[in-house]
C-alpha cells in the first residue's frame, strides 16, 4: 500500500533552468556539424533518444537529457568545467565567468553553466583560448583578495586555491592598492563574514532567497566596491544559515563553531546521517583525533539535497557537553539503601557477589545482575510486572534486539516509545519529530511513539504493578511528571544509555552505550528510507553499542544467535520483518534505500550531484 507522501522533500527552485537557447540555435534534431574537409576526423556522435541530445565535448561523445547544460554534459563526460557561482541546487547566476568554454560556430566564449547543450554541439573546454580566459578570471578574482590563506578556515577546501593551482598563472601583475573591506564581520548568529575574501558569486544570497526563503542577504554597492550584506536589524539568522557557509566557494563565510578548530586536511570525513530529526539528512562527520569537529551536509537528492539545518549541524555538541559514564554502574542490591545513602549514591560494581567465582568482567556481572533482577521481578509480579521504555533514537538493530531479547525472551510485556516533538515541520527539511528512527520503531512493531502508552506504564510503576523497568536511551526523569520518588518502588530499574543522565544515577544497573558517531547501524527516516549511521569515533571506556549490550543480556535468557555485527542483525530484520523484506545491509550504500512500500525516488528529474 502506498505510504502518504507528506514527508517527501520538495526542493525549490527547480534545480536546473538552463536558458532557452537563442531562436534557431536549438533546432531539434539538427544534424551534427560536418567535419571540415582536411581537418582530423571528429569522433562520431552517438545515437540520442527522443528526449536526449548528443554532443561532443573535447572530442568525447556524450548523450544528455534535453535541457541539460554544457557544464552538466561535460560532467557526464568526466570533464570538469571549473565554476564558482553555479550550484546545482540553486538558480543560475552566470556571474563568475569561470565556466566559459568555446562552442563551435559561436564567436564568443559561452558560459557552460547557462548554455543548453544542443544536438551536434562541439564544445572545447580546454584549449588555449579557454585556458587564457580562466587564468584571467583567476587573476581578476585575486587582485583584491587578501591572500590570507594561512589563517583561513577554507584553506584546503577553497576553490580559489584549487583553481589557481590548476588554471592560474601563478603570479599576479597587480601592484596597486587592494580594495579594503570589513573582515571578521559578524553577519549572523553563527556565521562570520570576511568581505575581502568574497568573490561575489551570490551563492549565499540565492540560498537565502530560494532555499531557506529567509531573504537576509543581498549585494550592496557597485563595481569593485560591491559587498554582501544584511538589512538593518535583520542579521543572517535562519534555521539553515550554515548552508551559506557550505555553498560559499571561498573562505568569506565561516561557521563560528568551526573557526580555527582544525586544518581541514587533517579531518577525516565519515559519511553518516544526522540524528537530529526524522529527516535524517545525509552528512559527513569530520573527525580529527577522535573528535567530531564539523558536521556538514552530504548531497542526497532523495533526502536533503545539499542542505541541513543548523540545529542538526551542531547536534554533535551534546557528545561533548553531557557527562558520560564509562563503566557499568549498579546500585547496591538487593539490600535496601542504608540509612543516609541516597538513591543517587550509585557506584560502579566492585566486588563479585561470590568471591570464589572466576573473576568475571564488570560488564558480565552487571548483565548477570540485570538479568537476575528482571527474572526476580517477573517471578514475583507475573507477566505484566515487566515493561520497557525504548527510544526512537536507537538504531533499527538496537530496536530489533530490544524487541527480541526483552519482549520475546525476558518476558517484557509492554514496550513503549516516547515521542519527542518540537515545533512544526517546515517547508524544507526540519521535522517536528526530533528522533531519527520513529519510523523504524513503527515498522519493527513498536507502534508509533505514544506519550499515552508511556504514561500507562509509569502509572503502573507508581502503583506497584510494574516491578521491573528497562529504559533504553531515554532519560526517564526528564519525562514530564516523573519524579525519582515515583520509581522508588521498582525492584529492577535497568538503564542503557550513552550518557550519565539523572536516570542512570537512580538505576539498579546501568550500562554505558555508544553515543552518536560511535556505533554503526541503520535508521529509517520519515520518508521510509533506511540509511546507515557509520562509526566515526572510538567509544569511551566500556561503552558498547546498545544492540551488543542487548545481545549479551539476551544470552542470559538463552539467546543463541551470535550477531557478530550490525550487518547480521539487519539482515535478520530483512529476512524476518516483512516491512524490511528484500533489503540488504551492504546494498544500502551511502545513500540508503526506501523500505518496500515507501515511495521511491525524490525530487523528480533531479540533477546529478555535484562532484
Amino acid at each position: 500500500m502506498a505510504e502518504p507522501r507528506s514527508c517527501e522533500p520538495r526542493f525549490s527552485p527547480p534545480p536546473h533552468q538552463p536558458n532557452v537557447p537563442a531562436p534557431g540555435a536549438a533546432a531539434t534534431g539538427a544534424a551534427p556539424a560536418a567535419a571540415t574537409p582536411g581537418a582530423p576526423a571528429t569522433p562520431a556522435l552517438p545515437q540520442a533518444g527522443p528526449d536526449e541530445v548528443a554532443l561532443l565535448i573535447d572530442d568525447r561523445p556524450v548523450v544528455v537529457r534535453r535541457g541539460a547544460t554544457v557544464l552538466q554534459a561535460a560532467e557526464k563526460a568526466g570533464i570538469l568545467v571549473p565554476h564558482y557561482c553555479y550550484h546545482p541546487g540553486m538558480s543560475i547566476a552566470g556571474n563568475c565567468r569561470m565556466c566559459l568554454v568555446e562552442i563551435e560556430k559561436m564567436p564568443k566564449l559561452q558560459i557552460g553553466c547557462a548554455t543548453a547543450a544542443t544536438p551536434g554541439m562541439v564544445v572545447r573546454t580546454n584549449n588555449d583560448r579557454v585556458k587564457g580566459v580562466r587564468a584571467g578570471i583567476q587573476e581578476f578574482l585575486l587582485i583584491n583578495h587578501p591572500l590570507d590563506c594561512p589563517i583561513c578556515d577554507q584553506a584546503g577546501e577553497c576553490r580559489l586555491q584549487a583553481y589557481e593551482k590548476d588554471y592560474g598563472r601563478g603570479e599576479s601583475r597587480f601592484v596597486e592598492e587592494k580594495v579594503r573591506f570589513p573582515k571578521r564581520y559578524d553577519i549572523g548568529r553563527s556565521v562570520l563574514f570576511d568581505a575581502e575574501r568574497c568573490i561575489k558569486c551570490t551563492r549565499c544570497v540565492r540560498f537565502c532567497d530560494e532555499v531557506s526563503r529567509s531573504h537576509e542577504l543581498a549585494l550592496f554597492s557597485r563595481g569593485d566596491h560591491a559587498i554582501i550584506g544584511t538589512f538593518p536589524g535583520r542579521p543572517l539568522d535562519n534555521p539553515y544559515s550554515g548552508c551559506t557557509v557550505d555553498v560559499c566557494p571561498v573562505g568569506a563565510l565561516t561557521w563560528k563553531p568551526f573557526r580555527f578548530k582544525a586544518r581541514v586536511w587533517f579531518l577525516k570525513n565519515v559519511p553518516s546521517v544526522c540524528a537530529g530529526c526524522a529527516r535524517g539528512c545525509n552528512v559527513n562527520l569530520a573527525v580529527f583525533r577522535n573528535r567530531i569537529h564539523r558536521m556538514a551536509p552530504r548531497p542526497n537528492l532523495d533526502v536533503n539535497a545539499y542542505w541541513m539545518c543548523d540545529a542538526g549541524r551542531q547536534s554533535y555538541d551534546s557528545l561533548y557537553s553531557r557527562p558520560r559514564f564509562e563503566r557499568p554502574v549498579v546500585r547496591a542490591v538487593p539490600a535496601a539503601p542504608r540509612a543516609g545513602e541516597s538513591a543517587a549514591a550509585a557506584r560502579p560494581l566492585r566486588e563479585s557477589p561470590d568471591p570464589r567465582a572466576e573473576p568475571a568482567s564488570l560488564r558480565d556481572r552487571a548483565l548477570d545482575l540485570a538479568a537476575g533482577l528482571l527474572r526476580e521481578a517477573a517471578r514475583k509480579g507475573g507477566p505484566r510486572a515487566l515493561a520497557a521504555i525504548v527510544s526512537a533514537r536507537l538504531s533499527v538493530e538496537d530496536l530489533y534486539l530490544a524487541k527480541r531479547v526483552l519482549g520475546d525472551l525476558a518476558g517484557v510485556a509492554r514496550l513503549a516509545v516516547p515521542p519527542h516533538e518540537e515545533g512544526e515541520d517546515d517547508h524544507l527539511l526540519i521535522r517536528r519529530d526530533r528522533t531519527p528512527n520513529a519510523r523504524g520503531a513503527e515498522l519493527l512493531g513498536f507502534g508509533a511513539p505514544s506519550a499515552a502508552r508511556v504514561r500507562e506504564i509509569l502509572d503502573d510503576v507508581a502503583a506497584g504493578r510494574v516491578r521491573g523497568l528497562v529504559v533504553l536511551g531515554e532519560d526517564l526523569l526528564a519525562i514530564p511528571g516523573v519524579a525519582p520518588a515515583m520509581v522508588e518502588r521498582l525492584e529492577a530499574l535497568i538503564v542503557i544509555d550513552w550518557w550519565r543522565s539523572p536516570t542512570v544515577d537512580i538505576a539498579h544497573v546501568a550500562l554505558p552505550a555508544c553515543g552518536y558517531g560511535e556505533f554503526e547501524g541503520t535508521v529509517v527516516n520519515c520518508q521510509g528510507r533506511v540509511q546507515r549511521l557509520r562509526p566515526a569515533l572510538r567509544p569511551p571506556g566500556e561503552a558498547d553499542p546498545a544492540w551488543r549490550i542487548l545481545r549479551d543480556l539476551g544470552r542470559r535468557f538463552d539467546l543463541t544467535n551470535e550477531y557478530a555485527a550490525p550487518r547480521a542483525v539487519f539482515d535478520e530484520v530483512a529476512a524476518k520483518v516483512p516491512a524490511f523484506a528484500g533489503l540488504n545491509f551492504s546494498a544500502l550504500g551511502d545513500l540508503g534505500a526506501p523500505v518496500p512500500g515507501a515511495p521511491a525516488g525524490g525530487a523528480a528529474g533531479a540533477p546529478a550531484v555535484e562532484a
Partner: protein
C-alpha cells in the same frame, strides 16, 4: 539638397512640447493612418522594410526585433521605452523628451499597436527631472485627447503608459538591467539567452526600444517605409539621425542629419569647427564614449552604422566626443575609466575587478608612477574583459582602452618613460 529636419522639426518653436502645438503641425496623423490602414503585422512589416535600426546603441533592425516576439498570446506583451540616456556625451533623447514629447509618444503608441501591447513603460533617467515632468504632462494630454487609454481613436486598440524613474545607474540603460530595475530589483543585467522578446519584463515577452528609435517610428507612420528608406545611405543605413557633439568643438550640441553624413562636415560645417583655432583635431569618438577612438587621420568617415564599423569603430549612441591637440589621451582615458569603474554593476568578475584595476594603472601613469609594462598590461586587461562579461558594458570599457592604447601607444609610453604627463609637464603643472 538641404536636409529638412524631421526629428527636430518642432525643436526651437516656442511651446513645442504642448499637444496643441504638436497637433497644429500635423501631429498624430501618422498614428491615425496606422490605426486605419495597417494591421499590426503589416505595420511590423512596414517598419522592417523602412530599414530602421535601433538608435540606442546596437543598431539592430527594429522590425526584426519586433518579429522575435512569440506568436502565442498566453502572456501579455510589454513595450519598454529606454529613456535612461546616461552615456557620457550622449544627450539626444533628452532633447526629444523635453522639446517634442508627442513625437516620441506617437511612435510609442504606433509601436505598441504593431506589437499588440497594451501597457508600455517609460523608463527615464532619474536625473531628468524636467524631462520627466514634461513627458508626464504629454501622457496626460494624450489621454485627455483620446490618443491613450481605451479604444484609441475608435480603433479598439488601447494603451496605457507607466512612467518609471531610474535611480542614477548608467547600467540601467542596458536593456535587461532596465527590466530588473523596473521589476524593483537591483539593476543587474540578465544572462542572455533568453532574450527579452521571449522572457522579458515579469517573465513576459517584451520589446525595449530607444526614445529616438520610437520617434523614427512616428516618421514611418506618417510618410511610409518607402519614403523613409530613401533617406540616408540605403539600403542598410536609412533615416535621419541625431548626432551629439561635445568636447573641443565650437558649438557643442545635437545635430540632425541623414545617416551617412560625413563626420568632418558635421563638425566643421554644422558645429562650427574646433573650439580653439590654434588647436586642431587630435582624435574623436564619433559613436560615443563606449566606442573606439579614431585619431584625426582616420576621422574622414561617414557617420552611419556600417561605415563606422568598417572604420573600426561603431555608431553607438552617436554621442560624438571631439578632442583637440591639447588633450592628454591618457588623462582622457582615465576620466572615462573612472566613469566605467564607478558604473560597473559589479556583477561579473572581469568587469567588476578589471575596471578598477584599469583606473589604478591609469592614475599611476598620469601621476608619473607608470612603468613601461603598464601600457601592454592595460591592453591585456581590456582583452580579458572583452567578450567575457554578462553584458556589453564589458566592451564599453574594453574598446576604449584597447583603441586608445593602440592608436596612441607612443603617448602612453612617453608617460611611462618620462615618469610624467608630457602635456602637464609642458604646461608646468
Amino acid at each position: 539638397m538641404a536636409f529638412e529636419p524631421l526629428l527636430t522639426r518642432n525643436v526651437g518653436r516656442p511651446g513645442s512640447e504642448a499637444i496643441d502645438a504638436y497637433l497644429a503641425s500635423g501631429g498624430y496623423q501618422g498614428l491615425k493612418r496606422v490605426l486605419r490602414e495597417f494591421t499590426p503585422e503589416k505595420f511590423v512589416e512596414e517598419v522592417k522594410s523602412s530599414g530602421l535600426r535601433g538608435r540606442g546603441g546596437a543598431g539592430f533592425s527594429t522590425g526584426m526585433k519586433w518579429g522575435f516576439l512569440p506568436k502565442g498570446r498566453e502572456k501579455p506583451r510589454y513595450l519598454c521605452v529606454n529613456a535612461d540616456e546616461s552615456e557620457p556625451g550622449t544627450f539626444k533623447d533628452r532633447l526629444l523628451i523635453e522639446k517634442d514629447p508627442h513625437l516620441v509618444l506617437e511612435g510609442i503608441i504606433a509601436s505598441a499597436y504593431a506589437i499588440e501591447c497594451n501597457l508600455a513603460f517609460f523608463y527615464i533617467r532619474g536625473e531628468f527631472h524636467q524631462g520627466h515632468r514634461i513627458f508626464q504632462k504629454a501622457v496626460a494630454e494624450a489621454h485627455a485627447r483620446g490618443y491613450l487609454g481605451r479604444n484609441i481613436l475608435g480603433s479598439g486598440f488601447g494603451l496605457d503608459i507607466i512612467m518609471y524613474r531610474g535611480a542614477g545607474a548608467y547600467i540601467c540603460g542596458e536593456e535587461t538591467a532596465l527590466l530588473e530595475s523596473l521589476e524593483g530589483k537591483r539593476g543587474y543585467p540578465r544572462i542572455k539567452p533568453p532574450f527579452p522578446a521571449l522572457v522579458g519584463l515579469y517573465g513576459c515577452p517584451t520589446i525595449i526600444n530607444n526614445v529616438e528609435t520610437l520617434a523614427n517610428v512616428t516618421l514611418i507612420a506618417e510618410r511610409g517605409a518607402a519614403w523613409y528608406a530613401a533617406i540616408g545611405r540605403p539600403p542598410k543605413n536609412t533615416g535621419p539621425k541625431l548626432f551629439c557633439l561635445s568636447g573641443h568643438v565650437k558649438r557643442p550640441g545635437v545635430y540632425e542629419a541623414p545617416l551617412g553624413v560625413p563626420f568632418l562636415e558635421l563638425l566643421n560645417e554644422q558645429a562650427g569647427g574646433m573650439a580653439h583655432p590654434s588647436r586642431p583635431l587630435k582624435a574623436a569618438v564619433p559613436g560615443g564614449s563606449s566606442m573606439k577612438i579614431l585619431p584625426a587621420s582616420k576621422c574622414d568617415v561617414l557617420l552611419d552604422f556600417d561605415s563606422l564599423a568598417a572604420a573600426g569603430t561603431s555608431l553607438g549612441s552617436a554621442g560624438g566626443i571631439v578632442m583637440d591637440t591639447g588633450t592628454c589621451i591618457v588623462g582622457a582615458l582615465l576620466n572615462l575609466a573612472r566613469f566605467y569603474a564607478h558604473e560597473s554593476c559589479g556583477q561579473c568578475t572581469p568587469c567588476r575587478e578589471g575596471t578598477g584595476w584599469l583606473v589604478q594603472i591609469l592614475v599611476r601613469l598620469e601621476r608619473g608612477d607608470g612603468r613601461m609594462e603598464d601600457v601592454g598590461l592595460l591592453a591585456d586587461i581590456a582583452g580579458r574583459i572583452e567578450g567575457n562579461t554578462v553584458c556589453p558594458f564589458g566592451e564599453a570599457i574594453a574598446w576604449p582602452v584597447d583603441s586608445y592604447v593602440k592608436e596612441f601607444r607612443e603617448e602612453f609610453e612617453e608617460h611611462a618613460r618620462r615618469k610624467a604627463c608630457p602635456l602637464r609637464a609642458a604646461a608646468g603643472r
